[in-house]
């Protein structure tokens, strides 16, 4: 274990972010380096609990106390080994995960939690820097082939696991680049895309085959793959955005976040974009108070919007953990994302009633009202505000029903996600599903966890077969 009294001796400290004035002018990651000595100090704060709540707080069940200790003891190479044992892509989670581990950290009962996420990121970044991350091709190969459809975090994790287990894995991606939501949904300032490329390179070297621009279910029927592959894993994500069914929704200038954000990522990647949606010089309203909304906020700022507002229908949460979500539950509380530091107005308990606009069909005004806890509109609180661009970031309702799912013929669950049994197998034998396509929109850490678990099931199933 780390230093027994570390949590008494040291305060929580996180790596500083780059100054707002600087970062708002570029698309690079907002993080600054965290010196190894500081990481060690933070690692020393871990108490190596007898019941480490972080371990179950983390959907991947990362062995957090183990690598905290190793970092504290300066055993970085052992630390990445322990981290990789449960997590294929710590560089993703170390940047993007909302860190439920930290809200369940035992130290969090009465002190600021251990800086688990920062430590995780430091370990993996250090490992890449040291050149410790090398391809790990399997020692022997089975004769089995697996198709993974979708190259988001769930698909990539599953592919790497299955490949390392010795199976031949092919990943199908409908887009031209790999990574799914990671590539197109996450702004570069939160994660630069070189991290994905580096992993994909490793996986290629390990023997995973990638086929991009293949939209299974649309260009190729799923059945066509069944002869070639003994198992198929669907990891197509939950791409169906939740819409706002109010009058005026059809007006120009109202877009889903997932129309807006990918464009910017492509732009950063040097692609030429048609039908550009840009916030530059515009009055922007983001509807939806979650992470995607925050990503829109940061992107709009970088595109130099004239103003940005973000509305949330729920009431403003308390500044600290709400009483009805005591430790170690995921706390209802106000969350301050990096984008919020960069400006913009946030408002809560706001519902949009309709849009209006000019004759060209452009949206120029948003009409809203304040609501109570049960979303009842409060009379007399109606308001109108001028807008040029409205971004809808209200979450996703599930996987797209056409295309892949139709083609696969798999049964869906009550919520419209793909139904599977405990082994992640769908109603079609040999066809499995994992990630958002199965559990609905969720965290990247869940996607990786699902991908790993599905891979284990597929491996077992293939061995038996």
């Amino acid at each position: 274990m780390g230093k027994p009294t570390g949590f008494l001796d040291y305060a929580r400290e996180l790596p500083a972010r780059r100054p707002v004035t600087e970062r708002i002018n570029d698309w690079f990651e907002i993080y600054q380096d965290f010196p190894a000595e500081k990481v060690r100090t933070q690692g020393a704060r871990c108490m190596d609990c007898g019941v480490p709540f972080c371990n179950t707080g983390c959907p991947l069940n990362n062995a957090i106390p183990d690598w905290n200790d190793l970092v504290y003891r300066d055993r970085w190479r052992e630390a990445i080994r322990a981290l990789h044992a449960t997590n294929n892509f710590p560089e993703f989670t170390g940047r993007l995960c909302p860190a439920p581990c930290e809200t369940s950290c035992v130290l969090g009962i009465n002190e600021p939690a251990v800086a688990i996420k920062a430590i995780e990121r430091s370990i993996i970044d250090h490992a890449w820097d040291e050149g410790w991350i090398q391809p790990e091709p399997p020692r022997s190969r089975s004769s089995k082939r697996v198709a993974v459809i979708g190259s988001g975090p769930a698909g990539l994790a599953a592919a790497q696991q299955l490949n390392r287990a010795g199976h031949w894995v092919t990943v199908f991606e409908k887009a031209d680049r790999l990574g799914g939501l990671l590539r197109y949904g996450i702004p570069d300032f939160k994660m630069e895309k070189r991290h994905i490329d580096r992993r994909v390179e490793q996986m290629r070297a390990e023997g995973v085959e990638f086929r991009t621009r293949v939209h299974v279910g649309q260009q190729v029927p799923l059945s066509a793959l069944r002869g070639e592959f003994q198992a198929i894993l669907l990891t197509g994500g939950a791409e169906q955005p939740r819409d706002l069914a109010v009058p005026g929704r059809e007006r120009k200038g109202i877009h889903f976040a997932m129309e807006f954000l990918p464009q910017q990522n492509r732009r950063v990647a040097g692609e030429v974009i048609e039908n550009q949606i840009l916030a530059t010089g515009k009055r922007v309203v983001i509807i939806g108070g979650g992470d995607t909304g925050a990503d829109c906020l940061g992107t709009s700022h970088r595109q130099k919007a004239a103003s940005v507002s973000q509305f949330e229908i729920l009431e403003k949460p308390p500044e600290t953990r709400a009483g009805h979500t005591p430790w170690p539950l995921w706390p209802v509380m106000l969350r301050e994302e990096s984008s919020h530091e960069e400006g913009g107005a946030r408002d809560w308990a706001v519902q949009t009633t309709h849009f209006s606009g000019d004759a060209d069909g452009r949206v120029t005004q948003l009409h809203g009202v304040r609501v109570d806890q049960k979303f009842n509109m409060l009379a007399g609180t109606e308001f109108t505000m001028d807008v040029d661009l409205v971004l809808l970031a209200m979450g996703f309702t599930g996987p797209a029903k056409s295309g892949l799912l139709e083609s696969a013929g798999v049964e869906l669950g009550a919520r419209g996600n793909v139904a599977t049994d405990e082994s992640y197998m769908t109603s079609v034998p040999g066809v499995f599903a994992a990630g958002d396509i199965r559990r609905g929109q969720s965290l990247i850490v869940w996607a990786i966890a699902e991908g790993r678990k599905a891979a284990a099931s597929i491996d077992e199933w293939l061995r038996k077969g």
Binding site: M47, F53, N55, N61, V106, N110, R139, W327, A455
Partner: protein
Amino acid sequence: MDGFPVAPSGPVGLYHPSTEHDACGLGLVANINGSKSHEIIKKGLEILVNLAHRGACGCDPETGDGAGILIQIPHKFFAKQCALPGAGGMGSGRPGEASSGFTLPEPGQYGVGMVFLPVEMQQRLLVEGILERITREEGLTVLGWRDTPINSDAIGRQARASQPYIEQIFIRGASGMTQDALERKLFVVRKRAENEMAASNIRDKSFFYIPSLSTRTIIYKGLLLAPQIPEFYGELKDPDTESALCLVHQRFSTNTFPTWQLAHPYRNICHNGEINTVRGNAAWMHARQSVLESDLFGADLKKLYPVISPGNSDTASLDNAVELLTLAGRELPHVMAMLIPEAWDADDAMPKDKKAFYEYHASLMEPWDGPAAVAFTDGRLIGATLDRNGLRPARYVITTGGQLILASETGVLPIKPEEITFKGRLQPGRMLLCDTEAGRIIPDEELKSKLAARQPYAEWLAEQQIHLDALPDPPRVYASDQSTITMRQRAFGYTEEDLKMILGPMAAAGEEPIGSMGTDTPLACLSDKPQPLFHYFKQLFAQVTNPAIDPIREELVMSLTSYIGTERNILAETAQHCHTLKLTHPILTNLDLEKLRRVSWGDFLATTLPMLFPVAGGAQGLEFALDNLCRQASLAIQSGYRLLILSDRGVDKNYAPIPSLLALAAVHNHLVREETRTQVALIIESGEPREVMHYALLIGYGASAINPYLAIETLEQFEQRGLLPPGATFETALKNYKKAVNKGLLKVFSKMGISTLQSYRGAQIFEAIGLNKGIVEKYFTGTPSRIEGVGLDVLAREAAMKHAFAFEPENGYSTELDTGGNYHFRANGELHLFNPTTVSKLQHAVRAEDGFATFQEYTKAIDEQNQQFSTLRGLMEFRMNAQPIPLSDVEPATEIVKRFATGAMSFGSISKEAHETLAIAMNRIGGRSNTGEGGEDEARYPREANGDWKRSAIKQVASGRFGVTAHYLVNAEELQIKVAQGAKPGEGGQLPGHKVDDVIARVRHSTPGVPLISPPPHHDIYSIEDLAQLIYDLKNVNPSARISVKLVAEVGVGTVAAGVAKAHADVVLISGHDGGTGASPLTSIKHAGIPWELGLAETQQVLVMNDLRSRIRVQTDGKLQTGRDVAIAALLGAEEFGFSTAPLVALGCIMMRKCHLNTCPVGIATQDPELRKKFTGQPEHVIQFFFFIAEEVRMLMAQLGFRRMEDMVGRVDRLMMRKAVEHWKARGLDFSAILFDPPVPGRVSRRCTIPQDHGLSEALDYKLISHAKGAIERGENIDIRLPIRNVHRTVGAMLSGEIARKHGSEGLAPDTIRFHFTGSAGQSFGAFLARGVTLTLDGDANDYVGKGLSGGRLIVYPPRVSTFAPEENILIGNVALYGATSGDAYFNGVAGERFAVRNSGATTVVEGVGDHGCEYMTKGLVVVLGRTGRNFAAGMTGGLAFVLDETGEFAKTTCNRQSVDLTPMSDATDEAAVRALIERHVELTQSPRGSWILENWGTMREKFLKVFPHELQRVMGIKKPAAVPIPAVTTRGREEVVRG
């Protein structure tokens, strides 16, 4: 008849006869010159009567546990009696036929047998016929039978019910036969008769028993109380019955089913104590039979087998061994020295040839180890010897009239002081021998040097013994293979945790890793993960009937040395016998092993046998491989190999390792059965063993040495992976690892009270949990396993699972090794009852306004987890009532919560805030909180203004006796004697100095910053009669408190509990193995003790079967978490329920398992003021928890149809095992033994219904109190003279209790109350004596003088008329001033062993002490004016001692300087204090020695050495201690003298 009148002959329910223990009082009297007299017998019987309080009674107060007397054959009496008409000469004795009597030949030409026979005549005649036939066949002549006149009216109801018909048989030898030859023949006759009877189908054969059959001695014994013996056996009162010597014994069996046969003496010995290693000793004796040869016995030898009769008590087994060895030619003292050797190994002061004598005999056989005072005789020699650690008392006197009197206590015979020429005590490992033929006493030194000179033992050893170092280096040694290490670690089931939490700390620190908060993972037989076979076993440990040993502070008695090689005929004595390999410890490196593999020296030759099996073959493959291994072992022996190396090197794709323990046990038992076991040594070369428990098991099942090659390679892996601490290398890691294993092994042995590896080897001191009969009978013969369980198929499957994991392609979706999760929760690891879900739900429930629903979610999660095969109770199911009763009919929760207690957690282990919150909560609801062993702040005794009460209702009395004063004891409703605790039974503890702040130091009566050690045993409980004594002591101090005894579940706990009931405890607490703790070695947390379900059920069954249940309440604890748990415990027999972990969790504990580090982040298990601020627990949380539990219990009661809890106690008929258990392991379990309902009549109570009779009415203190009334109430001075006898025990304690109640810890002004006694005081003289009381004793005293002294004053000196020099004679017994907290004491004479042990404040002067003086002392001042025994000041961390070292012996050998420095008494303050104290001593005792020292102060002062603890010096660096206080003595004229 109530209960079972006769011991069940086999196991019943969870009871097994092999768990019986006994202990007792013994004595001997002899005319040293051998002259016979009737007076000797009278005196022997009188001794017995005066030792009666050391015996016990069962449920029938008139029936004792057994007593007896051995005397020389009273020829004069028999010659007269046999000649009388009516004595049954041959050819008479038939019904109705008058006999004419018969004539006895000269003494020595005939033997007399005392014979127990069936009562029914027809059966009896059959037995007599067989005995006569065998006698004839052996060439002897039966002279006749004599009905032994008996008076059945003199004995108890139960005794009568099982009384045999008792006759004497007279047998003459063939003409020309020597007496020795006849003696041997009689032995043959007896053995043959025993064997033939055992094999016969005579219905009442269980009555048959021959107490004695000898030409020299005769034994009268039975299920009697001491005073009943001469009444029952009237001829003992006949003046013609004469003897020159006698041995007497009064038995106290924890043993619940005492019998006529198990009374002592046996043929050669009687014994007070316990042979812990008896199972191994008996097995080895059995194994040796094949090589026994004797010129004296010739062909008769075979008729004597089995040497050790099966199913016997430990003493009977020892007697069997003694008998064979003496009759085969060794002198009795030689035999005793061989069987119960001194601790010679580490004794550098021992003469070389004596050491050689012991070492030679150590090569012959292992010691019979355990606490033992053994008195022995062969009819000519009589004597006694004590075990190596001196754990039993034995005092003796020699009179001017030439008599030797020895007994467990002094003062058992009234002897005029002026007639005593010497008073002594048996010292550890020493022998006292009286040769009645030579007419003199042979002192130990003369005797031993005579023995040592018998043969050139030292030369023989030099010539024959082999040492590893001397063997040539082998050409090749296995190197480590890091490329396959992960694969092999997987194949042997290594987990990440094994590396991180077991091997890592061992390699880094050389210590066993420590943990806390107990265990909450499934038993191996329920775990879904493949387990090492090792984990199906649980260590047994000593409790009550024998003490655990402190392997650190009493290291001198411990030894890891063993001698391996072929065992030879122990009836002969040649140089060849010590042709053995000497190993100083059992762990072999690869180099060591290779040397052995290639050894060729004398007949040492080694061969390697593979411990692998084809993994595809499953159970059959495994069984075949085992059979094959056994066959190969036999072949190897035939081919002349003497070292068999069982090796699992070579694991590959097809072959998996056989669990090393299974392979070893299979070969061991196979060879035992084949009678070739003693020809070879078994050495294990295995990748499997890695933690202490593994090594303990391998040794316990017969391995001579172990090469843990994979553990060693793992250490190398640590080095390569950079996981060792900075500066450490593989070499240091290996050294540390070996050290940790060896220390751990000593701890495991010592827990059981065993001192040497040689005695431990093969002793099988384990219980299996969840192995089926098939496996146990074939491979683990004799190991208790009571709930059936898995078979070879599961073991094969577990091996296959690990093997599959090892040889699966790297799949990358798991860690390299299994995560483990056994110690710390891990998401993918082992199940834990307390996990993130249950901890948080419980906390949320007790904090919410209306939390019962959440609470039920919590209990549902726990109960479901239990049912998912986590605990035994999880597999039980209720038999509900068809018609539930309304919930409102069930007694209210407010009644139920009164049955709840919180566990013993000391203030010191947990914070003041947590401790007081628990106390307030429990006092509010009428339950009981427990002080734990750390004392209690007096400020908590009065109630708070708001009605809250911070005092704990239960005051614990543990081995450290911290803060146990009279005042503490009277402020209790219950006094709990902690014999063991679930997390580390048989072990002591240590509170590190950094936790001892000012408050804790004050409460514990110690010095801030000085670490405090709790010894493994209570030094005043080495046996069951000692426990009875402590109970009596406590009851005296506080007669209104109930006394409870805390035990830990293990096989045999039921018999111990029965003993506890007979020792008059009011409550017995059966703790499960899983209980929490502040700090304990992980080995102990995981591998010692068993679940409470088993222990509780056994306790209930045994108590009910003996009709003892009605007088004792039963409590249980051990991870009780839900209402279901409580209901099951009640149905299994518990009336009360203890909780510790769950209420702590309610208070905010999140199972950090860091209690031992003082870093508890929620302020519970810490003394850090900053962390304590983080404590947020409230009494309401605890109260809420208990009411929720009670509510759940009520709901279950309604469904079960019980209105009151007392109705459900012991209703095991309402439980059943869950049907259709399909789990691959659990389906083999069978709970019928747990759910056994003893078939007793309805009047036998299943719960406590009547109070214990503590016998307080006999206490002398009532008299003292009435005399002292004015003094207590008005502070008047009194001064009174009274006589005293050894039956007056615990004098002064009740008086002190009265004073403490009235005046608190302040007591009265010094010397307010003075009592002056004359005579021999009983045990615990002046125990807990309060300030203001002075007891003066003109005479001598027994054990425990001034125990717990609480400010009073004790003065003891020999009678003024004595002629001996006081400083050379024993004055007071063992363990004086144990746990004394204040006061002063002056002893004009020598004290026994363990003087001032754990002294924490008393000031005393004594003129000599035995071994282990001032052990664990933390405060106070001790001045010794003479010699000390060995190991003085071991573990002493505080206080000062000054020892007059005239010879330099103290500085050189007897002081244990590990924790103290010796400096001259240079400081003037010191000198003044010591001198003043000696002056006071002389003034109070008129000590001649003291006067002489003062007269010669100029030279003497330089010979005083100051014993200065390191820890005290360290603390003094910070703080100057107060000057040594010299107690004031009030001098005043006698105001009143009453002769009482």
